[in-house]
């Protein structure tokens, strides 16, 4: 009795026939190691993400084996590439269709800020239509950088409150983007 083990950031007390741990920490680690990504890839950053999915870089190592091409079963929206203004409402709809909890990774300069395409037809960063959790800079970023972005998403998933969506800050954020469910 009283033996403390730390596995994957989760502290546990192990005894004979029982194990004690904080449930929210266990759930957070379970979530972080099974983030199902929805790749919303439009251009060269999407190619880099494909390399990240492939055998050399292999995001499957991080519990991301299954690319979810349905937003309903996805946890992480990976926006990789230039988003035109015409595409913005579609991106927003995809985000709305994802179930909580959900996170957004903005890959590359275009998704993060419009990049070199400072022009009338290109959305100047996806954070104009949906909230973003982690930005990955680069034009395009290498797979290592994308993986680092995913690691940062994992850190968020492990450490933020499981009930993030009920927090005032989160509700305020969604209100800012006109994404509230009640309305």
């Amino acid at each position: 009795m009283g033996k403390v083990e730390v596995v994957n950031g989760v502290e546990t007390f192990n005894g004979e026939g029982f194990q004690l741990a904080m449930l929210d920490k266990v759930i957070a680690v379970a979530r972080a190691n099974s983030v199902w990504p929805l790749p919303f890839a439009t251009s060269c950053c999407g190619i880099e993400y494909m390399a990240t999915m492939g055998t050399n870089y292999d995001v499957a190592r991080f519990g991301m084996e299954r690319m979810s091409f349905s937003p309903r079963q996805a946890d992480l929206l990976i926006v990789a590439g230039t988003i035109s203004k015409k595409l913005a409402p579609i991106l927003k709809k995809v985000y709305e269709q994802m179930a909580e909890p959900k996170w957004v990774l903005s890959v590359g300069a275009c998704a993060s800020s419009g990049g070199i395409f400072d022009t009338y037809s290109v959305l100047q960063g996806i954070d104009r239509v949906i909230p973003v959790d982690v930005y990955v800079p680069g034009c395009p970023p290498r797979p290592e950088q994308i993986i680092e972005g995913i690691m940062n998403i994992h850190r968020l998933v492990k450490h933020e409150s499981l009930r993030r969506r009920y927090s005032d800050e989160y509700k305020h954020l969604l209100t800012k983007y006109n994404l509230n469910e009640d309305e």
Binding site: S84, D118, T119, Y120, V122, Q124
Partner: protein, 169 residues
């Protein structure tokens, strides 16, 4: 085969047939470029396509150019035609006033002009009279201006974080 169709012969035939509707001509980079009266552009293109000798029956391109400094003739609608039989190209230009940039559609001659005219409308606001579906094709539907007109800046107007000092402007 009879006489090979050259640019000179093409111009001569056009002038014989349409006379005053042929306003100017030049040959930059050896491409015969003819300015025609906007009201006659449709008939000229139709005749060029149907004339069995010339057979300029391929519409390579249809577009527009905005010349903001040419008062009364700011909007140029440009047609590139190609005779696949004789391998001769021709560029037709019709200048329209910016206040009313209207010209007859050529979708009744070339079905392929449909999307090109929509694109030209989308970016320049040229009104193709008689076009079956003259609505925006590439830009978002809610756009309320014609972005390729020179009075509009190319950059996204909503950005505040780009300091001109860092961009050489």
């Amino acid at each position: 085969m009879s006489n090979p169709i050259t640019s000179e012969l093409l111009l001569q035939r056009l002038q014989e047939r349409f006379g005053e509707a042929i306003l100017q001509h030049e040959s930059p980079y050896d491409l015969l470029t003819v300015e025609v009266a906007p009201s006659a552009a449709h008939d000229i293109i139709k005749w060029l396509k149907e004339d069995s000798e010339l057979a300029l029956s391929f519409l390579t391109l249809l577009g527009a150019v905005h010349y903001p400094d040419q008062e009364g003739r700011e909007m140029a609608v440009v047609y590139h035609l190609h005779s696949l039989v004789h391998n001769v190209r021709l560029r037709l230009k019709a200048y329209l006033p910016i206040a009313d940039p209207s010209i007859a559609t050529i979708t009744d001659i070339y079905v392929g002009a449909n999307w090109q005219e929509r694109e030209t409308f989308d970016f320049f606001g040229v009104n193709f009279i008689g076009h079956p579906n003259l609505v925006r094709i590439l830009n978002e539907d809610s756009m309320d201006y014609f972005p390729m007109r020179k009075e509009y800046q190319l950059e996204d107007a909503t950005r505040e974080d780009k300091d001109d000092r860092f961009f050489g402007r």
